[in-house]
Amino acid sequence: MPSSRSKTGPAGDLTSPAGTGTTNDVPKRPVRASRKNAGRKNRSPLRARLRRDWPLLMMTLPAIALLVIFYYVPILGSVIAFQDYSPYVGIADSPWVGFSNFQWLMLDASFWDATINTLTIMVFQLIFYFPIPIMLAILLDSIMNRRVRLVVQSIVYMPHFFSWVLVVTLFQQMFGGAGLLSQVLRDNGFQGVDLMTNPDTFILLVTAETIWKDAGWGTIIFLAALAAINPHLYEAAAVDGATRWQRMLHITLPGLRPVIILLLILRLGDALNVGFEQFFLQRDAVGRDAAEVLDTFVYWRTLLTGEWSYGAAAGLVKGIVGLILIVIANKVAHRFGEQGIYKKS
C-alpha cells in the first residue's frame, strides 16, 4: 500500500491527485478542503451549485440546528480540560492551566495501562466479535420458513436488553465457582472450576459475554442490508449454475460490504470505548491489570477527587484518537475502492 499513512493535512492532499479517486478532506479545515475537491470535480460555479443544491441543504437544517444547540454549544464546555475547573466557580472564573491536565494524563502510568488494555480488548473483539453478527445474520437470513426466522431472530436479540449486572450474574450462575458447571463437577466428585476469576482468560470471558448480549442485536442492521440486495442477482447467478457458496462469496458478501466497512470504521472511531459497567463489575475479580479500561480509569480517578478537568482532558484524548483512526480507516477504505463513511467524490 502506498504511503498514505502520513498525517492528515495539506501534504496528504497534494499526494492524491483528483484523478486517482483518493480524496483527503478530513483535515484541519474541512470546509475549504471539501469545497476545493468538490469544485474541482463538478466544475460548475458555486452559485449555480447552490441554486441546484439548496433543497438538499434545507433538508439538513433541522438536524444541524439540533446538533448546534444540544451538542456544539455544550461541547464548548470541554475547554475545562485546559483549566483547573470547579463547577461552582464556573468556566469564566476557573484558572487556566494550559496543557497540564494532559501532561498529567500522559505521565500517569495507569492511564497507559488502561489505554493498552482498552486497545487490546478492542482489537480482540474486532477479530472475534465483530464478524459474528454478520455470520449470524447470514445464517438467520438463510432460514427459509419466515415464521421460524422471525421467532429465532426475536429470541437472539433479546439479551441486548439485559443490563450488564444481569449478564454477569447469568454467567456466574453458569460458570462461576458456585455455578451450575461447578456444582455438576462437584456432584460427580471433581473439583469445581471458576471461569470468572482468571485474569489470563478474562478477555475471552468479556468477549463471550459481549457475544451473548449483543450479537443478536447486531444482526439487525445486516439483515436490513441483506434485504436490500437485489434478488435478480441471485436469480441470475442461480441460472448460471453458481453454488450456494459461490453466491455467498460473490453476491451476499459484496452486497454487505459497504455496511460492514462503514460499521468497521465507526467502530474504530469508538475504539477507546469498550464499555464501562461490564468492566466495573468484574474489576476486582481479575484485578486492575486485566480489567482496567479507560472509562473505569477515568471513573476511579475522578470519583473521589472531583477533577472535572482531568476527566474532560481524557474525553478529548479519546475523541482525538477516534478521529485519527476514523480518518485513517476511511483513507484505507478509499484505497481499496470502498466508499467508507464519506464517499470519494
Binding site: 483547573d84 501532561q103 470468572m196 475479580a285 470519583l303 472531583g306
Partner: protein, 560 residues
C-alpha cells in the same frame, strides 16, 4: 522525571478547601490552611475557636419517650452517641408541637431515595395529610439515590435550586469544592439558629451538638444535620445456623479462619463468608485512617498490622472460604446469598439487620441474625471505627427571604420530632386507619395505601436523634442495642475526629489505585512481599504530602 508541577499540583484543589472546626475536650479551636489561588474559594481563614461555641445551637433535650434499653452518651469528640432501643411501641405518644408553625407557604424539596417512588403530591394523600399538619406545603422532588451527586452538582452549578436541598455526606465527599458551592448556593443559617436562637424551634434544639458542629462550613452554620449511628459496619452472621450447628463465635483471627474452614462446604453450596474485607481492618487493629505515634502520623497502609490483614484475607481467598459470586462480581446480591444460607457471615451496616428480618421472618420464623461481638486478631482489646456525627444535611436555597427561611425551619422542626411522638408517627406512617393500622402491640402496620404512598421522604428533611425502633422484633432490638452499648468503649477515635477536613484530592485519588494493588495481593495475584513497594509508591505519589497536610491540621488544632 520532571512533572509539570506548576499550575497543576499547586492549584490542584484539595490542598486548599479546608475548614477545620474541632471540639477537643471542650476547648474549641479551629484551623485553616492557606487558601489557594482559586477565586472564591474563600472562608478558609481562621475561624476563632470561641466562635464555634457561639455558632452551634444550644442543646435543649426534648423530654419524650424513654427507650426501653438506654443508649450510650458520647463524650468522644465528633463521635455520635447511641440513642438506645425500643422493644415495644410507646403506649402513649407525645404531642411534640402544640400548635402549627407553618404559615401556608409552599416549598420544593429535593431528597434522595433508594426505593420505589410514591405518587406525586396531588395524588398522594399521605403527603397531603402531613403537609396539612405542618401547615405548609412540601413538594418533594425525589431523586434517584445512586445518581444523586450528578443531579445535585448540575443544579448547584446552574443555580437552578429547589427551596430545600438534602445532600448526604458521602455525596459531599465527591464534590471536591463543596465549601465553595455551599457559599454560592445555600443560605447561612447561623443568624437563625446560633446559641439560644434555636429556641424558636425546640425540636431542632434537641439535635446533638456534635452533629451541628459537623454542619459548619466556612465558619458558618449551613445546614440542619441528620445524626448518625456510631458504627459504620459490623459483622452480621446467621444466628439460627450458628446455633443449630454449634459453631462458636470467634475471639481472634485464627478462630475466624477456623470457623470459615468449618462452615465452608462447596458441595453443599455453603461458604462461610460474603464480603468481610472492611471488617478485617478493625479486627487487625488497623487505624481508621491515621495513627498518631510520637508526634508522627502513620497511615493505615503503613502499619505492620495491614500486612497481617493482607495475609489473612489472602488465606481466605486462597482456600475459597468466600462465596465465589462475591469474589467474581461487584454486582453479587449478598443479601440474597446470606438469606439463602449460601453465606453465613458478611459485613453490613447494623441497619441492614431489619430489612432482612422483614423479608425472611414471615415465612421462616426461625430465621435469625446476630452481630459478632468485636474481637481483635490477637485476642487482645478490640477496636472499632466510628462514623462522623452527621450523615445527611438539609440546606436552604440562598436568597430565601427571612420569613420563608423561618417557615422552612419550622418544617424541619416538625420533621425533627423523634420516635415516640405523634408527629413522628405521622410523617413516617401517615394517618391511622388510612395509611396504617395498629397491630396487637399497638405498633403501626402499614396498609396497602400506606405502602404505596408513605415512602421515605420527610425523614430526609433535617434529622432527629436515632434510636433502634424495630419494635416488631424485640429480640433483635435487644441484641442490637446490647452490641452497640457493649461496643462503644472500643471505639477508637482518630487523631482528626471531629475536625471537618476536606481531604486533599491527590490523597483521595490515590485510594483506589493503591487498594487495587492490595486487592491483587489478597487475591493471590501478587506476593505479599510486594506490600512494601505498594506503600512506597503510595508515599511517593502523594501519601507523604497527605501526611504533611494532616499533620499540619493536627498542629493547628493543638493535637500534635
Amino acid at each position: 522525571m520532571t512533572l509539570p508541577l506548576d499550575g497543576a499540583t499547586t492549584s490542584r484543589r484539595g490542598f486548599l478547601g479546608l475548614v477545620g472546626l474541632t471540639a477537643a475536650g471542650g476547648l474549641l479551636s479551629a484551623c485553616s490552611t492557606p487558601s489557594g489561588p482559586r477565586p472564591g474559594s474563600g472562608g478558609a481563614t481562621a475561624a476563632a475557636g470561641d466562635k464555634l461555641t457561639s455558632l452551634t445551637p444550644t442543646y435543649i433535650p426534648f423530654e419524650g419517650a424513654k427507650p426501653d434499653i438506654p443508649g450510650t452518651v458520647s463524650k468522644l469528640p465528633g463521635v455520635p452517641g447511641y440513642g438506645g432501643g425500643f422493644t415495644k411501641y410507646p403506649a402513649t405518644l407525645t404531642q411534640a408541637i402544640p400548635q402549627k408553625l407553618g404559615k401556608g407557604g409552599s416549598y420544593k424539596a429535593m431528597t434522595p431515595l433508594w426505593a420505589p417512588i410514591p405518587p406525586a403530591l396531588d395524588e398522594n394523600s399521605f403527603f397531603q395529610a402531613v403537609n396539612a399538619e405542618i401547615g405548609a406545603t412540601v413538594e418533594f422532588q425525589i431523586a434517584d439515590g445512586t445518581t444523586y451527586a450528578d443531579k445535585a452538582i448540575a443544579r448547584m452549578a446552574s443555580g437552578d435550586l429547589p427551596d430545600i436541598m438534602v445532600i448526604p455526606q458521602w455525596e459531599i465527599e465527591k464534590m471536591a469544592d463543596f465549601n465553595v458551592a455551599v457559599d454560592k448556593a445555600f443560605e447561612d443559617l447561623t443568624p437563625y439558629l446560633q446559641g439560644d436562637k434555636v429556641k424558636s424551634w425546640p425540636l431542632l434544639a434537641n439535635l446533638p451538638t456534635p452533629a451541628w458542629q459537623w454542619s459548619v462550613w466556612n465558619g458558618k452554620l449551613m445546614a440542619v444535620p441528620f445524626p448518625t449511628e456510631p458504627y459504620p459496619l459490623s459483622l452480621l452472621y446467621r444466628k439460627d445456623l450458628f446455633d443449630e450447628n454449634g459453631w462458636p463465635l470467634p475471639k481472634n483471627a485464627e478462630e475466624l479462619y477456623q470457623l470459615g474452614k468449618t462452615i465452608t462446604d462447596a458441595k453443599a453450596k455453603r461458604w462461610a463468608f460474603g464480603d468481610i474485607h472492611e471488617m478485617a481492618w478493625p479486627i487487625f487493629n488497623i487505624p481508621q485512617e491515621w495513627r498518631l505515634e510520637g508526634g508522627k502520623l502513620v497511615h493505615k497502609y503503613e502499619t505492620p498490622e495491614y500486612v497481617l490483614m493482607l495475609e489473612f484475607m489472602r488465606k481466605l481467598f486462597e482456600e475459597e472460604l468466600i462465596h465465589p459470586n462475591v469474589v467474581s462480581s461487584k454486582g453479587a446480591n449478598e443479601k440474597d446469598l446470606f438469606a439463602a444460607g449460601q453465606t453465613t457471615v458478611f459485613r453490613d451496616g447494623i441497619g441492614g439487620w431489619k430489612p432482612l428480618l422483614d423479608q425472611q421472618r414471615p415465612k421462616n420464623p426461625d430465621f435469625n441474625i446476630g452481630v459478632m461481638p468485636l474481637f481483635a486478631h490477637d485476642g487482645g482489646t478490640p477496636i472499632t471505627y466510628h462514623n462522623n456525627a452527621a450523615g445527611i444535611f438539609t440546606f436552604i436555597k440562598k436568597g430565601t427571604p427571612k420569613a420563608k427561611v423561618e417557615e422552612i425551619l419550622s418544617i424541619l422542626n416538625f420533621t425533627a420530632a423523634p420516635f415516640g411522638t405523634k408527629e413522628y408517627e405521622l410523617y413516617i406512617y401517615g394517618v391511622e386507619g388510612k395509611h396504617f393500622t395498629r397491630d396487637e402491640n399497638g405498633a403501626p402496620d402499614r396498609t396497602e395505601l400506606g405502602l404505596k404512598e408513605a415512602a421515605e421522604s420527610y425523614i430526609f428533611l433535617g434529622g432527629r436523634p436515632l434510636v433502634t425502633d424495630w419494635v416488631a422484633y424485640p429480640d433483635a432490638v435487644t441484641a442490637c442495642a446490647q452490641w452497640q452499648n457493649d461496643s462503644f468503649k472500643y471505639i477508637q477515635t482518630q487523631p482528626t475526629s471531629g475536625i471537618r477536613v476536606q481531604r486533599p484530592a491527590k490523597l483521595s485519588g490515590l485510594q483506589v489505585p493503591t487498594e487495587d494493588k492490595f486487592t491483587d495481593i489478597m487475591r493471590g495475584r501478587r506476593p505479599v512481599s510486594d506490600a512494601k513497594d505498594i506503600v512506597a509508591e503510595w508515599q511517593r505519589d502523594g501519601g507523604n504530602e497527605g501526611r504533611d497536610f494532616f499533620l499540619k491540621v493536627l498542629q493547628e488544632n493543638g493535637r500534635a
